[in-house]
Symmetry: C2
Subunit: 341 residues, 2 copies
DNA sequence: AATCGCTATGGTAACGATATCATTAATTCA
DNA sequence: TGAATTAATGATATCGTTACCATAGCGATT
């Protein structure tokens, strides 16, 4: 089977000829844009298959114009930006839409990033936390007829599209996993309270503990803010405690804080996971960088970004019947930072 | 000044009319593709400016076909993939070329990644270390008339395009910086010897030390392999030494190893930077994640990736006179992990 | 039976750019 | 001087799609 080289393969006309119809009808089948009889559709779909036809996106774009989709991202130094961009651009080039990227920190006001994108003429935007939870952002978008998609929000708006994981269940699964390893006294490091997923993750933890009939002491709940440094501070407090009073496991709301905890443990000669198990959340690059590598909840950022672009593109082409909410499956990734009690 | 909305702004015909010439002449000016008189050129450039004309890439692509550029990247978990992709895609969408990404680890044989890309019909590829130093890779590319660009290689081929920083000078600058802080006994952590930049960085260090008339003890040179874990092992050996025998600064060939050293120091209650200064190289996300944040040599990955795509695109459009080697400026970034002796 | 309103299809033009060939003017060569 | 070459420009066709309008067929309504 030959790959399609830079030389274009079959065109819509080839398909039309092969199926004995006009190019327009093929176009209608490809774009599901108008009524085509069942018989024709089958014949054409067969021809497409047979000739291995792939629409030429450049030509389509020349005729219909390109969908511009804006992406706001909060942290250019983020450890998972790579994954996210891979997904977004994969979908973008598959669908032939233009992606505009706007870093949040480049703007004095968070909403300015959105305004910039709107001025550049986007017809859809992807909003990550925390801006995805801002009512003003959604209002602003709507005012300019820009479709806003909440990405990885903890409480997505029902009326607008969203791509996310079930943070609650992810945290709950991790908690049950730790309990399954025999841990009873489990500490939790909360994340930045302005990030909605942080809240859901905390709730997942609390509910899972309750389900298992385990108490959660107040002094086992630490407040972090998602940064490595805050993880460092939590760890120092934690390990200052007497060895026998310490929790045997700690679950942090993200990987950076978990990594910091491991770093401190390492230095204080507290063995991970022998003396304390450490779990994170997100499965960013740092989770497999540190040693021992982090047990964490994998968020399939690549697929999520792909899906987000697909949903926006579809809704902009007003195949409006498309599913608007997509909940990606999380996955518990067991590495070396957790073990039996 | 109105931004160009999704509605296309001026077209080549508008420019032509405004300048009183034919569209073809405008096209020639835009593409520098054939001789145009100086007078015309000025008039047209003025019109372009005036009407704020931007070529419609989709339309161009429809006529001329798209340049496919392949990107091989070695580590999908890399902390700087995000920056790299941002740059590559920025340039890609500016120039209207299609980017195909191929992760190296997905293939049993390193060359398979290249073969896959060639089969997909790319006309240019970006090769990072270590594959950029493989003669076979370059031969394979050439055999299929694919232009191969060495990205961030330590010793780029003269006859083929390359984008890189001056690793030698970067390491040398950092070494001088440490010396300037009063350090005399400086340790060095080498990187994976199969990565050519690692070699250049080591040489930069050695030469700078020699220039300053400082000795480098054999036991101050450690062998790492770019991983966090190898940094951990080096640090353990290092800090096992008596406090007064220890070096007062350590310079690691990349940020991950430097971050590991800080982590160990933190745990062993060795204050960074008071008792030991730690420096890294690359300025990846991890450098500003850890605490104290790493002093490091910034490699402008985003611009480098942009430039790489631009060079390939230009050479594929056979404006072959273009500059083929681009040495990006590094920058010494002073953060909190280094201080006076 | 004439009219209407669908559905299913095709014909044609156009999207905005460039390849190619044709044309004119300017220059060089024998 | 006349022919040949080169440089500068324009006219036209075309890339692969889709928008738009036209048309044919057919059942339902009056």
């Amino acid at each position: 089977m030959k790959q399609n080289n830079s030389k274009q393969g079959a065109t819509i006309h080839d398909v039309a000829e092969y199926a004995g119809v006009s190019a327009m009808t093929v176009s209608r089948v490809v774009n599901k844009s108008a009524s085509v009889s069942e018989k024709m559709r089958k014949k054409i779909e067969n021809a497409i298959e047979e000739l291995n036809y792939v629409p030429n996106l450049a030509a389509r774009a020349a005729r219909t114009g390109v969908n511009k989709i804006g992406i706001i991202f909060s942290n250019p130094k983020s450890h998972n930006l790579g994954d996210f961009l891979m997904g977004a651009f994969t979908a973008g080039s598959k669908l032939g839409c233009e992606l505009l990227i706007e870093p949040l920190p480049a703007h004095p006001e968070p909403l300015d990033a959105l305004k910039t994108l709107i001025n550049k003429g986007v017809s859809g935007v992807i909003l990550p936390p925390p801006i995805c939870d801002s009512l003003e952002a959604h209002q602003l978008a709507r005012k300019h007829s820009v479709t806003a998609l909440s990405f990885a929000s903890g409480n997505p708006k029902l009326h607008s599209p969203a791509v996310l994981i079930d943070d609650f269940s992810g945290a709950s699964a991790m908690t049950h996993y730790l309990i399954g390893l025999g841990h009873k006294k489990i500490a939790f490091v909360k994340g930045d309270p302005s990030h909605s997923p942080a809240i859901s993750r905390f709730e997942g933890f609390m509910v899972a503990m309750a389900e298992a009939g385990l108490d959660v002491d107040d002094d086992c709940i630490y407040q972090g803010d998602f940064t490595y440094k805050s993880g460092l501070e939590v760890a120092q407090k934690l390990f200052a405690k007497d060895k026998f009073q310490r929790p045997t496991a700690i679950f942090a709301t993200n990987d950076e804080m978990a990594a910091a905890i491991i770093a401190v443990a390492h230095g204080m000669d507290v063995k991970v996971p022998e003396e304390i198990s450490v779990a994170g959340f997100d499965d960013t690059a740092i989770a497999s960088t540190v040693w021992p590598q982090l047990t964490t909840v994998h968020q399939p950022l690549r697929q999520m970004a792909e899906k987000a672009v697909e949903i926006l593109d579809a809704s902009l082409r007003k195949n409006a019947q498309e599913q608007k909410h997509f909940v990606a499956p999380f996955k518990l990734v067991e590495r070396e930072s957790t073990g039996h009690c």
